[in-house]
């Protein structure tokens, strides 16, 4: 079964600074990988996904993520953080079949200092 770890429970950055949120997964084959964002009281919104091909994927709101098979990682990055990026970020992995379930990591809470 697949699993996801997000080593950082809480990260604080200053507005305008760069950001990297870490995600490591465990899965026996090439996974489908996702990053979702959840603002307080809101549902989960898809930021970006990796299925195959180019290992650097672009998403909404200026986010990108890079799939590194050798490190089993799918870290999320943004070059310049905005105050509105403060939220909870979840990495998820989906299995390569139709009877799939998505497994989410525990999340990383991002705080942005003015």
């Amino acid at each position: 079964a697949q699993s996801v770890t997000q080593p950082d429970i809480h990260i604080t950055v200053s507005e305008g600074a760069s950001l990297e949120l870490r995600c490591n997964y465990s899965y026996g084959a090439t996974p489908y990988l996702f990053w979702y964002v959840q603002s307080p009281g809101q549902g989960l919104q898809l930021l970006l996904k990796y299925f195959s091909g180019d290992t650097l994927v672009q998403g909404i709101k200026g986010f990108e993520a890079e799939f590194k098979r050798s490190q089993s990682s799918f870290n999320l990055r943004k070059p310049s953080v905005h105050w509105s990026d403060a939220a909870e970020y979840f990495c998820a992995v989906g299995a390569h079949n139709y009877g799939q379930n998505f497994v989410f990591g525990p999340g990383t809470r991002l705080s942005v200092l003015p």
């Binding site: 549902g43 989960l44 919104q45 390569h96 379930n101 998505f102 525990p106 999340g107």
Partner: protein, 115 residues
């Protein structure tokens, strides 16, 4: 509809009561998922429907939890004899079951509080 709709948005009940949570997926989405999210945790998989049938119900914690999707659209999550530990946000997501992976679109959730 335009998005995944979940009702009620908030439900407060007493221990031992029965609760139903409803999910109305995006029109045309054949796959439907239920997740449970406790405070400070990531979403925890409960059950996955493909059409009317539960393709994977391995995440349901015990037999007090049950979900149906009788016509392959709206789904209802049913919790019997609620316990305080059932308090959480229950998230529903739907997806178009094409080739390859599903991309899940989530509703805003139903917050359940068991007193």
């Amino acid at each position: 509809g335009a998005g995944v709709s979940q009702t009620p948005s908030n439900k407060v009940t007493e221990k031992g009561k029965y609760v139903e949570l409803r999910c109305d997926p995006i029109s045309g989405h054949t796959a439907l998922y239920w997740y449970r999210q406790s405070l400070g945790q990531g979403p925890e998989f409960l059950i996955y429907f493909q059409g009317t049938g539960a393709a994977d119900d391995s995440g349901l914690p015990n037999d007090r939890f049950f979900a149906v999707r009788p016509e392959g659209s709206v789904s209802t999550l049913k919790i019997q004899r609620t316990e305080r530990g059932d308090s959480a946000v229950y998230l529903c997501a739907s997806a178009f079951q094409g080739s390859g992976a599903n991309v899940l679109t989530f509703g805003a959730g139903s917050r359940l509080t068991v007193l």
